[in-house]
Point group: C2
Amino acid sequence: MPPRHDTEKKTPGIDQSCLQHLLGYQIARADITTRRAFSEHIGKPLELSPVEFSCLVLLAFNPGATPKQLATALAMVAPAVTVLLDRLDKRGLIERVRSDSDRRAQHVTLTPAGTELALKAHAQSLDMEREVVTALSAAERAILVELLQKVARAAQP
Amino acid sequence: MPPRHDTEKKTPGIDQSCLQHLLGYQIARADITTRRAFSEHIGKPLELSPVEFSCLVLLAFNPGATPKQLATALAMVAPAVTVLLDRLDKRGLIERVRSDSDRRAQHVTLTPAGTELALKAHAQSLDMEREVVTALSAAERAILVELLQKVARAAQP
DNA sequence: TATTGTTATACTCTATAACTATA
DNA sequence: TATAGTTATAGAGTATAACAATA
């Protein structure tokens, strides 16, 4: 571990080695960093939360997906998806139409404004990615993504 | 990427490849998995949230740390630390004493009950770790931790 | 009877601003 | 004037249960 020179003004840092062996701790810390980067590059400029972003991009690549499918993909519970879609609907970004084959279900599609925002946000995400991973080589990044996928799948095989 | 056979009952999954290139997305997914594991192994049995756990363990290894130091270590804002410490105080796990050298500051220490719980939780975290990383070899796990640290530090060098 | 989606509610977490007491 | 910690309040995210419409 490299000697981390303290950039704090006054308060000396405390020893965190007792937590650093925990994968969950490291993931949570990295999550804070990437959420911060998201907020700066996409969240604030486009007024999108992480799930709103993910939902729009998913819909751009999966037109007509159902709320049920979105719930699974976004790891959200059904009522949360309803609230999320309500917000996007109110902004004129999506539309919900009842399915013909199963009149309980709905198909969600992006409006032109929604498509434009989704593609803009997706493009921005590529810029963001470049900044977040400057500390990593391309090979390291690929390894990191692969290992994270293994962890994510560990619980739901 | 291995062919992921769908275990869902009815609803077919939608294409998430449009998000999988984003490190933040992968980290968020892995975060869900590790939080679930934490909840099962530590959260529910010991009635501890992730930050409560981290706070107790930090105090076990850093007796007399100040709320300010805890705020930095836990990536929390000062008022949130106050609320957190209030909860732990109410459960008789910590004590706060005013500093002699600077009477604005406090030193937080674990009570005997707090120490016992902290050590028990810390031991449980080692069991949890074993389960979360069954999908990874020891070498993969070490690499993952190192890469995550690089990412976490990218924003606060 | 089971499923899709909605409503209502509550609980947690977090962020901000305003306050106190010390320095 | 600046800092450590608190209080109060509001916002976002998420979870549960109860419900309507459809299968």
